[in-house]
């Protein structure tokens, strides 16, 4: 499997370069917005990728709660980390586009903006919990929080739904229309982003597996070697 990684890296690099060329040069200029609109080739694919990763996180967390398989937990951790990065890209590119087109950086009552922001907050708090939690129980607590976060998403959406929304209608599955050439470039960019996300997740997954193996080896070593290195610390777990 290891030989697959460099091949996939090369394919991803070519795809990203080609998709960038298509987005900046080949795709037609928008009649109303001009060249500013081209940021959607980064904004929209990032959003789709982030939502997909958060969904993977939810499924992996449920799987972990049912079966307690460490692999499901690693997958949940990795997808949340990479998802937060893509979600950050969405939240940064959005205002850059909104300023020239809407005249404002941020529309506080808008449904997609606010729910994406809340989604980002929830998964950042998930990562904070994983960082702060003591090692033995992190997985179950994090999985429980992930389920809560996923349950919260539809509620966030409907709570803001009451306000009128300012965001353009979704180009796919919504009322908006899009030039087929633009759609082609958009989907190409999404494919490139998906490959990139998969690549990052994969290497992060391998890193986390190695990390846990090393930790386990250290634990076994200190068990076998008698006194562990931190034997002088007080045994009170709650103070850590």
């Amino acid at each position: 499997m290891k030989w697959l990684f460099p091949i996939l890296s090369i394919i991803t690099a070519i795809l990203l370069a080609y998709a960038l060329y298509e987005a900046l040069v080949v795709a037609p200029t928008d009649a109303l917005q001009g060249d500013v609109y081209r940021i959607i080739y980064y904004h929209v694919p990032s959003a789709w990728t982030a939502f997909l990763l958060f969904f993977i996180n939810f499924v992996a967390s449920i799987t972990y709660l049912i079966g307690c398989k460490p692999k499901a937990d690693i997958l949940a951790l990795v997808s949340a980390e990479v998802g937060v990065v893509f979600c950050t890209v969405v939240l940064v590119t959005g205002p850059i586009w909104a300023r020239p087109v809407w005249g404002i950086w941020w529309a506080p009552g808008d449904i997609r903006l606010t729910s994406t922001l809340v989604l980002w907050l929830i998964y950042v708090s998930y990562l904070v919990l994983r960082r702060f939690s003591t090692s033995a129980q992190t997985q179950i607590l994090a999985a429980a929080l992930a389920v809560f976060g996923a349950l919260d998403v539809p509620l966030v959406y409907f709570s803001i739904w009451f306000f009128r929304t300012q965001h353009p209608q979704p180009v796919i599955g919504g009322g908006g229309s899009i030039d087929p050439r633009m759609l082609h470039v958009l989907l190409l960019n999404w494919l490139a982003f998906l490959c990139f996300a998969f690549l990052v997740c994969w290497s992060r997954y391998r890193l986390e597996v190695l990390h846990r193996e090393v930790e386990e080896a250290h634990a076994m070593e200190s068990l076998a070697g008698g006194a562990p290195a931190n034997a002088s610390l007080p045994p009170d777990r709650s103070s850590r």
Binding site: V118, F132, S133, L155, R240
Partner: protein
Amino acid sequence: MKSLWAVTLATLEKDIRLEWRSKDALNSMLFFSLLVVVIFAFAFDPLAEESRQIAGGLIWVAFLFAAVVALNQTWARELRNQVLDAYRVSPAPANALFLAKALGNFIFVSVLEALMAPLFVVFYNLHVLGPAWQLIPIAILGTWALVVNGTFFAAISLRTRSREIMLPLLLFPISIPAVLGMVAGTTAVLTGDNPAHFYIVLLLTYDVVFTTACLALFETVLHAE
């Protein structure tokens, strides 16, 4: 079912008696929200019309922060003398403990709200223009929304470093829809501009969804080791 309620009531009675004797949570919550009211009154200095617009937000932000004070103390009490470990090995249902803690917090925060609400009226010269009775379901459902998740996340943050900071970090993002429902509903009633029914339904949905989730997952979290 009978043992669930018996254990719930026994634990609840114990918590209320402890609180009645020490008044730790109530006193700190009361003084804390009083400070928030006074500081907000200085910071904004609003006119009557403006205060109707912002009071809903101020009231609930004050109660949200104050509730965190009580929620943080929920489980800390059980850590002394390994009470929580004893509870884990006992055959009593885990959900009884959770329900008792959540109901206890609900009572404490409700008492706080009942005492603080008149103060808000005085400080901000509030005069309700909409149907005032709707504030009662908003307050009950909103308080339950805060304490049910707060009690659960307090149990999670118990197992982390710097747990007192952890609780708001976990609770606030998840509570955003509930806070939005409470604030917008209260503002709708105070100003009388639009109906608050939607927000009451939203809070009810939030309560049902998260009470179910808490009861389904609490045993797993309690026994996580």
